[in-house]
Symmetry: D2
Subunit: 306 residues, 4 copies
């Protein structure tokens, strides 16, 4: 990445990327009086031969971010939105194959789910937004190899029992009493990487994969008698790896949403695991990757929101 | 409200209130291996004979906000949480009747709903947080009369057709083209006031009332062929008034979440009500009260978040 | 407000208002190479003869919210933005006097301040946004009388000593120890009402008034040896009333941003008012109005964000 | 990272870390009647020999996150808070050197600045929170080598002229007109890596370094006549590299906060670069690393908030 055309430059350009972020696109598909909705937030990020625009301000290699926005909306019409992943694949392929200076495209998508509102009439075009989680997809393409990482965030779960925490290290700063029956609650942020990487191979069923992975991680959370949030995290990841052949890697970032048992003794009351204070900050933060044995880790250690 | 003990004071105290806000209380009720959750955010606000604490800093009439917090947690144990409204009634009655200087108590509650995660085992103590809306309750008591206003916020709804907007006033600043088929979407913030005001009368079934009102407002939103968001708002309120005898007043604040049809003609594409840009700001904001005929309006014009 | 044209309607329309909210307008004024910035978020809310649009969906009296948006931007050019208050007065007058069905206009404005970045060149057109507080203005006009309420929010202040809290009521739920030296911190949300109400009277100097009131409330916060946050609140309001003749009423909403002294004794350390935990929720919430003696209160009890 | 003690495990543990996040610590230092404030948000993240807690739930190697929280508060007393970086170095060294299973500690700190409120008295213990930006520091230690990355976020800047954008690639989805005088505004998120890595070398002056880098990046933003935001970004990074020997790498994430010139022609008005609409989403997002020639990039491509 050294800059031969500008000798004696003490500061050189490293990794760089650009594009239009957070394009909010809503696609309505009409099947007679029955409508279907896809509601996405699409962020485009392009990399390639972009030294000049940084060094001299020449935009000769720069496809405007405004154009990347237009392309998102045009593709919603041209290709439809079968799934977030499929839509991202169309976009990434387009940018890399249509513009010579662009060598890599990364498309990030948030998807918001909608439920139907049942009506007395025959039409089906009324919806209420599900708020339970935000679905995520990230598609990266370099002209040869695909990387698809899907996931979710904002999924809040709780076990009101079957969680303990004891047997830990005690140093001079340790005051925490051991717990043999506590609430375990977290807001799941998870990402999973598909092993589909080549056009020559058949694509996964993206919609079914999401639905199944979501089901497995919820089941693993609920089924695990937990001795630590780390153990629960591992079980959630392992469950996905074991049941979904299309996934090689899972990463979770799990804040331990502390629920403190309130001391009611000063008021002459016994709190038998009934009344809790739900705390905001600070919170434990447990993060880990779970890999299919023999596979390499590629999901970054720090998950980002978009 | 004039202050006779401090003559010649140019600045006098007006309405005032105080208390602990946003006490996050989670109550687990164990019915064998089946657990039930109530998850509330409770804010206490007390008024009364509080001139001295403002004028001189004397706290002789002040029950500390810390004590109001403790009371919330103690009452969750002592009375349980049958509903947000019932819980607020216990708290408001306590503050007004146990402390002579306190003449009025207002309890505001946000409630977060949880769904069960089905598991293979026999236990039922795993939950995923519903994110669809936040339920609200406000209970005010002055020692004689009750006022209960319930509601919700964050409920996002959309009709993908059956909405028009035309025939409006055009002045020299008007450029908007008329629309004969548009998306109508809003994030409902609503409040409804119960006509239950006296202990002597039987209380409404708070849980059933909420569930039914939520159903009616969603149905009215979905069923109304809309010529303006104002019309839809009125229909939502009127439906509640007509079907729920316990309610005398409804107020809605409805942001018009604009979905702009994207112009795809520059790309040689026809956008037949398919591809929309979901905009953030600015947004139309439609607010109104709907009253049972003959009843008085008491819900403030500006709805607040808590 | 009864609806004579629709007999037998069980649900009638009450107070209502509509308009475009959160129009973000930035006005650059060029004085040679020296530029000046005004950065506002303007919300328009109109009321009047609007029954039909609610009852039948007829928009014959409705100036579109899109038009109110256009008017904001056009007026930024036509009148400039001398101050938020003056700009709101132009807008409110226009809506009420130009459209017969509109009987009242309320303009709410947030203003964001910018500081200059000093440069070596002669130009002065680089700015960094001040983040310290958001300035607020609300202008209401009914065709005859003006009401101007200005204010601020997001102003975080702290006294690291000269605050006590003791001598309060103790009931069975009280566990709080008395404090004789504590941190007092709050995030000020304040509103002040001007006694200018008629075109015939000279307007206040809106910019100078804001600057002076901000100075007085900060001074009063810093100067008051506090026995309770209520006392500090009153002193802040009284200082404004005493020093600023143009103001008749002040209301504050002051969250008590608790800073808890951390117990370091388990680690063999003495915490001599040095190390504090800054807590989020719950928080005490102290709200009150301070009035010029003999004046009436008009600012609503619950302050809203916009 | 393969797990030899659990043969035939299809899902293996990868990178993992844990700790208490967002410990809000406020340190008051009293110099007679003059007080000094440090206000930090400290997040601890530990890694090491942690396989068992994930695989079996054994906490034998786990120092509780609650203990890491206690340590933050105890160290604020024991060492004071000279700077965020110095405080993080004390913490990281402690965790790695005192607990055998812990091989790496990463401390992330947000710092909030406070300004004095001048008072008439002799004391100096009243403060107003600066809101202009959040200072960041990340300290990582593995028992041998230090990595310190400092930075800031939330710094909003604007040039009201001296910005152009033209000469870019035009494809079939390009509709953007070229601009020869536009507003350039962004919210700077930046990180810079120090070349100090060993205890044997003298540490930088962390406070002075921050102040100087902040000054240089603001100056570079203001001084650059911009042909693209990429060029401005590079100039900001290069200015730091050129003037601050202690820094080898800088990364910026710069959202292009679009200010659209409003079309006022429909209203018979000419908008001569005066009235702009400040847009929210979508936004261009420009991200790049600037390196001292010959140095390696280590700051992750995606900056995270904490």
């Amino acid at each position: 990445m050294a800059d031969h055309s500008h000798p004696a430059r003490p500061a050189v350009l490293g990794q760089n990327q650009y594009g239009k972020a957070e394009n909010r696109v809503v696609k309505i598909t009409r099947d007679g009086a029955t409508h279907h909705v896809k509601d996405l937030n699409v962020s485009v990020s392009l990399s390639g031969d972009m030294e000049e625009v940084h060094y001299s301000g020449s935009n000769a290699h720069v496809l405007p971010t405004d154009t990347t926005k237009n392309t998102v909306y045009a593709f919603a019409k041209e290709y439809g939105i079968e799934s977030a992943e499929q839509f991202g694949i169309h976009l990434a392929r387009h940018f890399v194959t249509s513009q010579e200076p662009i060598r890599r495209a990364r498309i990030r998508i948030e998807e918001y789910a909608w439920q139907r509102i049942g009506t007395s009439g025959e039409g089906a075009h009324s919806f209420v937004r599900e708020g339970r989680e935000t679905r995520l997809a990230q598609i990266t393409y370099d002209g040869g190899t695909w990387e698809v990482v899907s996931g979710l965030k904002d999924l809040v779960v709780m076990n009101s029992t079957d969680s303990e925490f004891w047997g830990y290290v005690k140093d001079k700063y340790t005051t925490l009493p051991e717990a043999h029956d506590r609430i375990l609650a977290t807001e799941v942020s998870g990402r999973w990487r598909f092993n589909w990487t080549e056009d020559a191979r058949e694509m996964p069923d993206w919609e079914k994969s999401y639905e199944q992975i979501r089901k497995h991680l919820l089941q693993a959370f609920a089924d695990t008698y937990s001795l630590s949030l780390q153990q629960t995290l591992y079980e959630m990841g392992a469950r996905i790896i074991e049941h979904r052949d299309e996934i090689d890697e899972v990463r979770f970032s799990l804040p331990n949403k502390h629920h403190f048992l309130v001391d009611l003794e000063p008021f002459g009351l016994k709190n038998d695991n009934e009344v809790y204070l739900a705390a905001d900050r600070p919170y434990g933060l447990i993060e880990a990757t779970v890999l299919r044995d023999g596979c390499e880790a590629r999901i970054p250690v720090d998950l980002t929101n978009l």
